[in-house]
């Protein structure tokens, strides 16, 4: 009996110690994050208070009047290209691999490679894009090239997320669809795609929130640190009402704008960098929140 109570006491002590260590670990993480955000706020909030100026003026040599107009419009345009190319390509590839491709050594190899690609440092994608778009296709840095570069970067994430979503659909559901006489395409269109939409959406949002913060690959392909004009509007007042010249425009994006400000010899620009950083954080946090909401909604609806 005595032995047992000693053992219990010992194990309780062990528990207690681990709790302390764990709490400390958590504290380090949380404290750094809080400190970071507080510091950014202290530096950046004054500028953000005058958000009309900050959001709607171009960067200039006067810190007080420098804003992020070119940067956020650039980010938006680039993300649009990324979204429109990466989602169809990624979802298409995932559907092919999961539903059509025969399972053999070759597809296993592709599978392993795609998962690994998701972990490749982003600057490598910049190099690859520079070679592919710059040397091979002779394109110069533009919204299109920037968007395609980030699209390459997030393609593996979208493929992996879509495959996971497809794989989580029970085989019995596929069998039910096929047993009713559906073709592969009908099964995919009426069942697999709708049921995996939640997973695809969360994967896409997370991938996009990664892409929006990327700097390195865009610098490698030669994105500008400063641009003078907004890209031409994609919609026009006369037929055909669409204009694709914005794809060819010079661009900069939020993280690059931050980077140029932090590198500026005038210390006053640090405030601009901090304010831009806050905008970027709000951007990515709200995207992640959206991903969580989507996932939650889907879990509510589909319980396999």
């Amino acid at each position: 009996m005595n032995d047992v109570s000693r053992l219990i006491a010992y194990r309780k002590r062990q528990d207690w110690w681990f709790q302390i260590v764990g709490a400390l670990c958590t504290l380090v993480g949380v404290a750094t994050l809080v400190a970071l955000i507080v510091k950014l706020m202290l530096d950046g909030l004054p500028l953000l208070m005058r958000w009309r100026v900050f959001l709607f003026s171009n960067a200039s040599y006067m810190p007080d009047e420098s804003g992020i107009l070119m940067a956020w419009v650039g980010s938006l345009c680039v993300m649009l290209v990324t979204f429109l190319t990466a989602v169809p390509l990624g979802v298409g590839a995932a559907i092919y691999l999961e539903e059509y491709a025969k399972k053999n050594r070759f597809t296993d190899l592709i599978e392993v490679n795609i998962s690994n690609l998701a972990g490749v440092p982003s600057i490598t994608y910049g190099l690859m894009a520079l070679w592919l778009f710059g040397y091979l296709l002779g394109l110069s840095s533009s919204v299109l090239v920037g968007g395609l570069t980030l699209s390459l970067l997030i393609l593996p994430i979208i493929i992996v997320a879509t495959r996971e979503a497809l794989r989580s659909i029970p085989q019995a559901i596929r069998e039910a669809a096929y047993a009713a006489g559906a073709t592969k395409w009908q099964t995919i269109w009426y069942h697999m795609l709708p049921y995996s939409l939640g997973g695809i959406a969360t994967g896409t949002i997370i991938a996009m929130s990664r892409a929006v913060g990327e700097t390195a690959p865009l610098i490698v392909i030669g994105a500008a640190g400063w641009v003078s004009n907004l890209p031409p509007s994609p919609v026009t007042s006369h037929a055909p009402f669409l204009n694709f010249r914005w794809l060819n425009a010079d661009f900069t994006v939020l993280p690059i704008q931050m980077f140029t400000w932090t590198a500026d010899p005038d210390p006053a620009f640090q405030a601009n960098a901090a304010a831009a950083g806050l905008v970027l954080i709000v951007f990515t946090l709200s995207m992640n929140a959206a991903a969580i909401i989507v996932r939650y909604r889907v879990r509510q609806k589909l319980k396999w």
């Binding site: 039910a176 669809a177 047993a179 009713a180 006489g181 319980k303």
Partner: protein, 276 residues
Amino acid sequence: MNESRPATRAGAVAASRTDYASSGHLKAEVRGLNFFYGQRHALKNVELPIPERTVTALIGPSGCGKSTLLRCFNRMHDLYPGNRYEGEIVLQPSGVNILSPAVDPMEMRLRTGMVFQKPNPFPKSIYENVAYGLRLRFVNKRSLLEERVEAALRSAALWDEVKDRLHQSAFKLSGGQQQRLCVARALATGPEILLLDEPTSALDPIATSRIEDMIFTLKEQVTILMVTHNMEQAARVADFTAFMYLGELVERGATSQFFQNPQNELTEKYLTGSFG
């Protein structure tokens, strides 16, 4: 299960039971069928005539190949690589071997309806679950869809329970209701052959007897092949019963003879429960 009910029902059924000898029409005939899951030889030289518009019950211990045999009829095995058929299932009167590579598995799936061993409704509304087969056939007229959905749900003894919530998710139904929904889904398209894999395994006695009534009504139009672990059920609803063991079809006969006077020693042992 209620002890007295099966006896009385079986009596009623026996009166209208089609006699194999008198009805010469076969719907399908399984001849020398072997089936392989990769290396695994799951069906061994199965012979089974299936008379038209009758109920044939498959019984046998777990793992003996009942589901495997059932899934040959709509070529479900074609979905997976490495599965292999040998022998034939000849469909009458056309004489086509439905296992031949020349036959499109999709055709067989359009002509049969299947209820799986485990309920597998789609995560869509109750209505859409039942309407699915019709939509695949490009039936989109609303009035027609509604009419067919209601009829199918009525036959599956589910209509009264769901008529007020047709547009709710099928996942909100209980297990037994889901199973009946799957029955309704299989019925809605008016199949020639109905493949039922333990359609009442999750049902209470009342729902079970309503499904049995449905099977009984349906066989006037449809040929039914059903797997059951419940021998009283086989005795109640089946015109013919076949016993499978370790991938072989041991014995098949008109149900009354099969149960009263089994020819094979294995069958007798299985029926009397003195098995293994």
